[in-house]
């Protein structure tokens, strides 16, 4: 009986060997994957095991951490003025995960980043508790406040950029939400989350980055840039070849202007000042799809932006016939943009044609406040030459001084801008979107701020909705806040 016994012994050995191999597979080969698995609660437990690092605006934290009771998470996230800042911070919720900066820079905020490894080891030896690092943003507290309060109870969004660097100065979205309400994992947190999820006004949608709107007449700035850059017209004050009425090519449809404005053979400056659909529609049609596409993509269209939070791609259609190109060139048809994208357009013009990569994290700090990573401003593209940019600046300044953007004037400061009123809904049945994009100039050249404002709908009468009436005052206040904060 001993021969089969020995074989049974080998069989038992093989069973154990199978277990050993499987264990090596689990705990060595696929250990990392399992450790960081999305369903692994340990990731969350670790995230909230110690005080989380803060997100900082202008040397002041806009977040905090509070100890919790009766939970496996030691701390929970708190927010200062959460409704105002949530489009910037995102949220870090024990029950519902994290988004935006809270998610992207989680490793720094929890102190688990590889670059903190040495400090962490040192802390472990000296018996110090692990701490989180800080994320220092580029935002400007006063500009953000102006943007948030300017939007008030209206639905809309504001994005403001420093044109010379691409630094985001303001990023507001209303209606907003306070991430403190569901930062924990109690029943109240759950209720708050469900209420926000079900809210038809979508308060958790980051309209400044993730919602695309038809840009309406503000897109004429891009079309004007294309006209100058592709040499269709050289001088803002030269008469354009613009019949009125103008029938779109290959159609019997006349493109309409808003009211009886002087658009026949208007100069570029004049056409932008009074916002002629016919002039810019024809420019788009004359230039053709490819040239319009080239310029708009240089401004950043058709591409997601990472600031480092993802911003949806704005759309300039790639497949169009001539009349559709004409409509797209005045910000209709399928053209759709995020507020951030339009702020980038204004900032490229203001920065003499150079578009800087937008970003909102200036630097990352170790728990002891040492800077471990700093953002260097990077050039993204050059949608138009310096000379052409300056021509476009003159035109946009005329819009504010003498045209539809008069509400954005700031005494003593040169401001350029463009209004827009975008129709939407079937047969334009819904309230149009009010747009305004603008920039302010320093007395000694250069521009400290470019801003885009969109107001979705409003309790105001339909007739009153216009970029100049609703959006321009908000843009003005944001620009003023930036200029004042530099004094």
């Amino acid at each position: 009986m001993n021969k089969p016994l020995r074989r049974i012994a080998i069989f038992c050995g093989l069973l154990m060997l199978a277990l050993l191999l499987r264990d090596n597979w689990l705990q060595y080969v696929s250990a990392d994957e399992l450790r960081t698995h999305e369903k692994n609660r340990r990731v969350l437990i670790e995230r909230y095991a110690q005080k989380r690092g803060d997100i900082i605006v202008g040397e002041k934290p806009i977040t905090g951490s509070a100890p919790t009771k009766g939970s496996d998470f030691a701390y929970k996230r708190t927010y200062k003025n959460g409704e105002m800042w949530s489009p910037v911070t995102g949220f870090a919720s024990q029950a519902f995960g994290a988004t935006q900066i809270e998610s992207l820079e989680d490793e720094i905020l929890t102190g688990n980043d590889d670059r903190l490894f040495f400090r962490r080891t040192l802390d472990m030896i000296t018996g110090k508790k692990q701490g989180g690092g800080n994320v220092v943003t580029t935002l400007n507290g006063r500009a953000q406040k102006a943007a948030f309060e300017g939007l008030g109870s209206k639905k809309g969004a504001v994005a403001a950029i420093d044109p010379s660097t691409g630094a985001i100065l303001a990023l507001a979205s209303t209606p907003s939400y306070d991430p403190s309400e569901f930062a924990g994992n109690s029943e109240d947190d759950s209720k708050a989350w469900q209420r926000l999820e079900k809210d038809p006004d979508k308060p958790m949608l980051n309209r400044a980055l993730r919602e695309t709107y038809p840009p309406g007449s503000t897109f004429k700035v891009v079309t004007a840039a294309a006209a100058l850059e592709h040499g269709l017209y050289d001088d803002p004050d030269e008469e354009t070849d613009s019949p009125l009425p103008w029938t779109m090519p290959n159609t019997n449809t006349e493109l309409k202007n808003e009211g009886p404005i002087p658009c026949k053979d208007a100069t570029l400056r004049e056409a932008l000042r009074v916002s002629c659909n016919t002039v810019f529609g024809k420019i788009g049609s004359d230039l053709g799809k490819d040239k319009m596409l080239e310029t708009s993509q240089k401004f950043g269209f058709n591409k997601e932006q990472f600031i480092p939070v993802r911003s949806s791609a704005s759309t300039f259609p790639t497949e169009m016939d001539k009349p559709q190109t004409a409509l797209s060139s005045i910000g209709q048809f399928e053209t759709a943009t995020t507020p951030l994208q339009m702020a980038m357009v204004a900032s490229a013009v203001a920065n003499d044609g150079t578009l800087m990569e937008p970003y909102m994290i200036d630097n990352l700090q170790a728990p002891n406040l040492d800077v471990i990573e700093k953002h260097d401003p990077k050039k993204m593209s050059e949608p138009l030459s310096k000379a052409n940019a300056q021509k476009l600046q003159e035109m946009m300044e005329t819009v504010v001084q003498q045209g539809t953007g008069s509400n954005a004037r700031i005494p003593g400061v040169t401001v350029g801008g463009k209004t827009g009123t975008a129709q939407h809904g079937v047969d334009n049945s819904e309230n149009p979107y009010a747009w305004f994009i603008s920039y302010a100039k320093n007395p000694d050249g250069g521009s400290p701020v470019a801003v885009a404002v969109v107001v979705e709908d409003s309790d105001a009468d339909r007739g009153d909705i216009s970029g100049g009436g609703l959006a321009a005052p908000i843009a003005k206040n944001v620009m003023k806040a930036v200029i004042d904060s530099k004094k």
Partner: protein, 473 residues
């Protein structure tokens, strides 16, 4: 023919009793859990645990009693079996105590039963009962061959034990499997005891019938196939394990019994055909049942893709949590008391206790535990090799083989190697039936190994003569 010449596997005459080796190893087996206990306390609260003295002394006393009884009543027993069992039992106590400290598990129990009862004190009590049974085996059973007399009684008892959970009012259905009975507030898993009792029956039965099963056969396709009428017993056992599977929803026990029978049948007859037939039958049975029983099906689905059905199925969540616990432990583990294996929830300290080892002691710890088990099994099989009588050989290999299968089925289940079945990790898992039955199992192995290694046995007719005959000059 003298008994000293016919086999090399029997310890030499006059072999040392190795009782002092056992004592030295037992010291380690008590001290290591004490260190582990202190480790948990220091890691979780920063101070030495208050119950340290109680558990240390308790475990030490149990080990001392075990050792003294072995020294007196089984002086030539294998010196590794008792220390291995003590070490596993001690570390199991530490792990159970560690999971008792988990607020999450405490809360879970309060929500489910209204109050939290720490499992570690009970486990210490069960360990004491286990040692008591171990001592009883040593005292009452001077020779394991006595058990041969109870071959058919064992069969009846084993069947009764297996069927008890199906008796209305007595059996309870917990977590989908009907393998418990409830008597006066105590939950008992009769299957754990049935495992030993049925090994007695198999050993006794096969010892008598092995010649018929082995020799009367036809050759077919290179295999010696048994006669139709000799297939009877294996068919009965097969049907019985399928019935267990269907009515008690217990894949593990079913696999265990059938596997144990096939192993013993193979050893008794030395016919490979039995292994082939056995494997074929178990695969056919498992597939057939898996297609019909929803409970088994859910387990199989959970095994195939635990994260695919994680949100919808409890079985998937359990196995997913278990795998993540292993993965989070990595190579060296988080350290005792510093993991989150309590996320597994129910049965974290029972069927899933191996996941806690995985997370807190890491790959290194799990391999160490698997090697401890492997060593225990190896000593069991070695006992079978050394045993001089066919009953002892069959009995020892049956017990060790079942033990090995159980380890494989449980550890393989929690590690996602095979579908999960509701069985306990011997000596580690919280649960009275398991720890008591396994102490009895170790007691029986010690008794057989003592008989096997005892010097100068009365010359007995050698049952292996046909294999081990020596040509004498």
């Amino acid at each position: 023919m003298s008994s000293t010449t016919h086999t090399s596997t029997i310890g030499a005459i006059g072999a040392p009793s190795r009782r002092n080796t056992e004592l030295a190893l037992l010291v380690f087996a008590v001290v290591i859990p004490c260190f582990a206990y202190a480790n948990v306390g220091l890691a979780m609260t920063g101070e030495m645990p208050t119950g340290m003295l109680g558990y240390g002394v308790g475990l030490g006393l149990l080990a001392a009693v075990g050792h003294l009884v072995v020294r007196k009543f089984a002086p030539y027993a294998d010196p590794l079996l008792l220390p291995l069992a003590t070490l596993l039992n001690g570390l199991g106590l530490v792990l159970i105590w560690r999971l008792d400290q988990s607020e999450r598990l405490q809360q879970l129990q309060k929500n489910a039963f209204g109050a939290f009862n720490p499992a570690a004190p009970n486990q210490l009590m069960y360990s004491a009962l286990g040692i008591a049974l171990f001592v009883a085996v040593m005292l009452v059973m001077k020779d394991h061959r006595i058990l041969q007399r109870f071959t058919y009684i064992s069969m009846v008892v084993a069947l009764m034990l297996l069927l008890l959970p199906l008796v209305p009012g007595l059996g309870t259905d917990q977590f989908g499997a009907k393998i418990w009975i409830r008597i006066g507030g105590f939950s008992i898993q009769p299957g754990e005891f049935a495992k030993i009792v049925i090994a007695v029956f198999f050993a006794g039965y096969l010892m008598v019938k092995r010649d018929a099963l082995a020799l009367a056969s036809r050759r077919f396709l290179g295999l010696y196939l048994p006669r139709g009428r000799d297939l009877g017993p294996i068919l009965v056992i097969w049907a019985m394990s399928l019935l267990i599977l269907v009515f008690e929803n217990d894949l593990g026990t079913s696999l265990l019994f059938f596997g144990m029978f096939v192993i013993m049948l193979y050893v008794a007859t030395e016919r490979t055909s039995w292994i082939v037939i056995g494997l074929g039958m178990s695969v056919a049975g498992a597939v057939a049942v898996a297609t019909f029983a929803s409970h088994v099906q859910a387990r199989v689905d959970a095994w195939l893709d635990p994260f695919g059905c994680y949100a919808t199925s409890g079985a998937c969540e359990q196995i997913g949590q278990s795998i993540m616990a292993f993965g989070s432990g990595g190579v060296l583990g988080t350290g005792l008391g510093q993991g989150h294996s309590d996320l597994i929830g129910f049965a974290a300290n029972a069927d899933f206790i191996f996941a806690t080892i995985g997370e807190e002691l890491g790959l290194a710890g799990v391999m160490a535990f698997l090697l401890l088990y492997a060593l225990l099994i190896e000593r069991g099989v070695r006992t079978a090799l050394a045993a001089r009588d066919p009953f002892g050989k069959l009995f020892a290999v049956g017990l060790s083989g079942a033990f090995a299968l159980q380890i494989f089925v449980v550890a393989g289940g929690v590690m996602g190697l095979i579908p999960l079945t509701g069985m306990t990790m011997p000596f580690l898992a919280a649960g009275g039936s398991s720890v008591i039955a396994n102490w009895a199992l170790v007691g029986l192995l010690i008794r057989i190994s003592d008989t096997a290694r005892r010097p100068a046995p009365a010359p007995a007719p050698n049952p292996d003569a046909e294999m081990t005959q020596v040509v004498r000059p």
